[in-house]
């Protein structure tokens, strides 16, 4: 598909717009609809669109698969790490009130960090699954009846 001029131009133009919208949804999840799940899926859709137009090899040079595996684990570790941090500070698991000077500030920080972890994991897992499906070679059939 990369020989089609219109698709190439549109894909290169739309990719930063979709990524920017994903970051907007991620960070404004507190004040409007949104949050980690939606942002992760939208960001992965941007990369999938790029891969559909420019091919899988080019996209794998942009974001290599081993980086995706590291990102997926990092998201969960950020989430669980927040919980363990609050436990080390003396509270319960995932008790955000202790993360800062005032409880409301602590809740803000806790929610933002946790949603970031969720967004990173969802993005990398969705893209990982797409790379796995798209990178697999099709089985060759030897005999046709």
């Amino acid at each position: 598909m990369k020989h089609n001029l219109i698709l190439r131009v549109i894909a290169k133009f739309l990719f930063p717009v979709i990524a920017l919208f994903a970051f907007y949804v991620q960070f404004h999840g507190d004040f409007g609809p949104g949050g980690g799940f939606q942002a992760g899926v939208i960001l992965s859709v941007a990369f999938i669109f790029y891969a559909l137009v420019f091919g899988l090899k080019t996209t794998e040079e942009v974001i290599p698969p081993h980086l995706l595996r590291i990102l997926a684990s990092m998201g969960i570790l950020i989430y669980a790490g927040t919980g363990i941090t609050t436990m080390l500070m003396g509270g319960n698991f995932l008790d955000y009130n202790l993360l800062s000077l005032t409880p409301i500030q602590g809740q803000h920080i806790g929610i933002m960090v946790v949603e970031a972890g969720v967004g990173i994991t969802v993005f990398s897992v969705m893209l990982m699954i797409f790379f796995a499906f798209a990178g697999r070679e099709r089985p060759q059939e030897t005999d046709h009846d």
Binding site: G32, P33, G35, V122, V125, I129, A132, F133, R136
Partner: protein, 119 residues
């Protein structure tokens, strides 16, 4: 009678959708169609939950000035989780379909069964 219909038509259509998905799973032999049927069933269950949490003349549960009636946020939280878990299980099911095709050469259920029986 008429107010029962007005109050419940949403649930009846949702039950019809559930049964459509259920019928696809148990009657059709193609594996990809079965997975599509499971997804239809899942989506109609989500519709039922959100219908239970709906308040007429309400707004989405985002606190703002001047609004007092909000929809119930608890089913929303549950269904948000369920949607993403649903896509994860669909991806796993589709990966299994790909491997079954590579192992058996077909994705029709009765042909797979025949190959297993003839071993």
């Amino acid at each position: 009678m008429i107010d029962i219909i007005i109050g419940h038509y949403n649930y009846w259509v949702v039950i019809f959708l559930m049964m459509a998905g259920f019928y696809t799973v148990i009657n059709r032999g193609n594996l990809i169609k079965k997975i599509a049927g499971i997804n239809i069933f899942q989506t109609s269950v989500f519709l039922m939950y959100i219908s239970i949490g709906y308040v007429s003349d309400g707004t989405p549960p985002i606190i703002a000035e001047g609004f007092t009636k909000y929809s119930n946020p608890l089913p929303h939280v549950m269904i948000l989780t369920a949607i993403v878990v649903g896509v994860s299980t669909t991806a796993l099911g589709l990966a299994l379909v790909v491997r079954i095709k590579e192992a058996y050469g077909t994705i029709e259920e009765d042909e797979i069964h025949d190959q297993d029986m003839s071993l």
